[in-house]
Amino acid sequence: MKTVIEIKNLQKTYTETAVEVKAVNGVSLIFEEGEFTAIVGPSGCGKTTLLNLLGGLDAPTSGQVIIDGIDISTLSSRKIIDFRMKNIGFVFQAYNLIPVLTAKENAEFIMQLQNKSKVERETRIAELFKAIGIEGKEDIRPSRLSGGQQQRVAVARALASKPKFILADEPTANLDSVATSELLDIMRKLNEEENITFIFATHDQRVIDRARRVVYLEDGVVTKDELKE
């Protein structure tokens, strides 16, 4: 198996607060290509912080995040934005989509930023919309899509430019069970059929049940790393 991310003794301490918070406190992990992994734990255990470090949205206090052999903390803030765009797909809990763009425009947004040709965009988006099961809603703006549909568009956008892996922070937190299982089905399918790496931060049991690897986090420390199959 090919390693996509390796983190070594990662630490993140928030010092702006009255009391120092060690949100991530010495985590070392290896994520491999094709993983479908949930990072789980109670609220405040450091999941979002860890995911932000993995995605280069935040810089660690110490330790390393090595993606494809590159320690991303060595990249300039300018380069890191580009690096993120090329290599990492993001799905957040909320505020994922740009409200003034249609579903299709949202999905192709990153491809637009990368100056991909119209033909390339059209083909890719058609393919993805089929995969996420919201054909026919291409020209609708997010406010007129259900929460589940919005998250699926976010997944489509994250996948559009074929990143190395997808980071999803509580993607199902605002969804009912039907929407949750639909979204999970789609992601599992993409994972199995296209070998796309997914890493979730979640405390949603439904996600945990479908994950193939579960990393348990408590107070910024990994307490258990379980491979289910």
Partner: protein, 408 residues
């Protein structure tokens, strides 16, 4: 090239329709205020200039260069009649007139006042100035009788003179002797410029030349009227080459004050608009700060997924600039309609503007705006938009995507 920034920016404007409409309306009203008042001012000044050209200055004047310095009657143009016929052949010249000019005293039984005596050839003079159209009483040099004078309504009142009154003109003749003669008031004129009216009386050139004992075919001043103002400079240069020994001047050199009021209007537009745009700029900055603050999460997300700072800046700049431009275009449109309509129909300011007449303005004004004025304003609006977007963008870029994308 992709227009994704532009597209988002444009649609974002219409996200909060009420707020954007308020800003757009403010810009519209501001620009209309600035443009319309400049248009009115410009119209008034152009009218003033046109009036001055048509009734006093003409487009071009020719003198003996010494005459201009001290206005003494000895500084003649000896071949004046010859020059007249030469100039008349020039393209774009529609009228030429030669004049004798002499300072003198106009007196009646009750009073005496200093005046400029203009000796004119009535038929030639009619082709150059429109005084003959400004006659209130009497006829403009209709009779062939000797020593007739035309004075203004204003002067008539001051001198206590009426039509057919006798007025004695006293002056120094060509030989330096004090001389004089009695003239009969043949007509009374009135222009819009009362200062001019108080100063100028008109007599026939033959009469005054004889009294002054001037040589034949000479004059002090040749006035030239052209088909339009735009050809003034070129024609002045041509005539100058034609008669290099004399001083050939265009209206703007003859009357620098007149010219100054003319160029002032463009400067005023700039000042007006700068002040208006400054005020609007603050309103726009304020609005865009609100916008950026409202979209913290969204902008953070956009940056998180890969939009770089420069593109974010462009996006906000586009939004700000277009917001200003939409208002700007409305403002320009309304101003254009305003000047188009009132430029034709005119605005009657006689109720408020009686005083204006004394300094040469008409009581009906026709607003004028030139293409370049609109261009200048569009550029100013765009600049305001760009400058006004800097501060909100700085705010937007301070956001950390890691914070912005956290739920809640």
């Amino acid at each position: 090239m992709n227009y994704i920034n532009f597209k988002i920016a444009w649609r974002n404007i219409w996200r909060n329709k009420l707020r954007s409409s308020v800003v757009i309306a403010a810009v519209t009203v501001g620009l209309f205020g600035g443009l319309a008042s400049t248009g009115v001012m410009k119209g008034m000044v152009m009218d003033l200039v046109e009036n001055a050209i048509q009734s006093q200055v003409s487009h071009i004047q020719v003198h003996n260069e010494h005459f201009v310095e001290n206005n003494e009657i000895e500084y003649l143009m000896e071949e004046s009649s010859e020059i007249l016929s030469k100039v008349r052949l020039e393209a774009s010249v529609i009228g030429v007139s030669q004049r004798t000019k002499s300072f003198g005293m106009a007196s009646t039984a009750s009073k005496g006042l200093g005046v400029m005596i203009n000796g004119v050839e009535p038929e030639n003079e009619k082709t150059v100035t429109n005084i003959f159209e400004k006659i209130n009483e009497g006829e403009y040099f209709e009779s062939d009788k000797k020593n007739r004078i035309i004075i203004s309504e204003k002067l008539a009142k001051k001198l206590n003179a009426k039509l057919k009154s006798k007025i004695v003109l006293t002056f120094q003749d060509y030989e330096g002797n004090l001389s004089g003669a009695s003239f009969k008031v043949e007509a009374i004129y009135q222009t819009q410029n009362s200062t001019f009216d108080m100063m100028n009386v008109f007599v026939k050139k033959v009469d005054i030349d004889r009294l002054l004992m001037l040589p034949d075919h000479s004059s002090h001043e040749i006035a030239i009227l052209l088909t339009n103002e735009e050809v003034t400079q070129a024609t002045t240069e041509r005539i100058n080459k034609l008669i290099p020994n004399y001083l050939v001047e265009a209206w703007y050199d003859i009357d620098p004050y007149l010219n100054m009021s003319y160029s002032m209007t463009s400067f005023m537009l700039f000042i007006f608009m700068s002040i208006i745009m400054l005020a609007l700029g603050f309103a726009i900055v304020n609005t865009m700060l609100m916008v950026v603050l409202e979209r913290t999460k969204e902008l953070g997300m956009i940056m998180a997924i890969g939009m770089n700072r420069f593109k974010v800046f462009k996006m906000i700049m586009w939004e700000t600039t277009m917001l200003a431009l939409v208002g700007g275009l409305f403002g320009i449109l309304i101003s254009w309609i305003f000047t188009w309509y009132y430029g034709d129909v005119g605005i009657d300011i006689s109720i408020v503007g009686e005083g204006f007449a004394t300094i040469g303005y008409s009581s009906v004004m026709y607003p004028v705006l030139e293409f370049i004025d609109y261009i200048e304003v569009v550029i100013m609006v765009m600049l305001t938009g760009i400058i006004a977007s800097i501060f909100p963008t700085i705010r937007a870029l301070k956001m950390k995507p890691a914070e912005a994308t956290r739920a809640g």
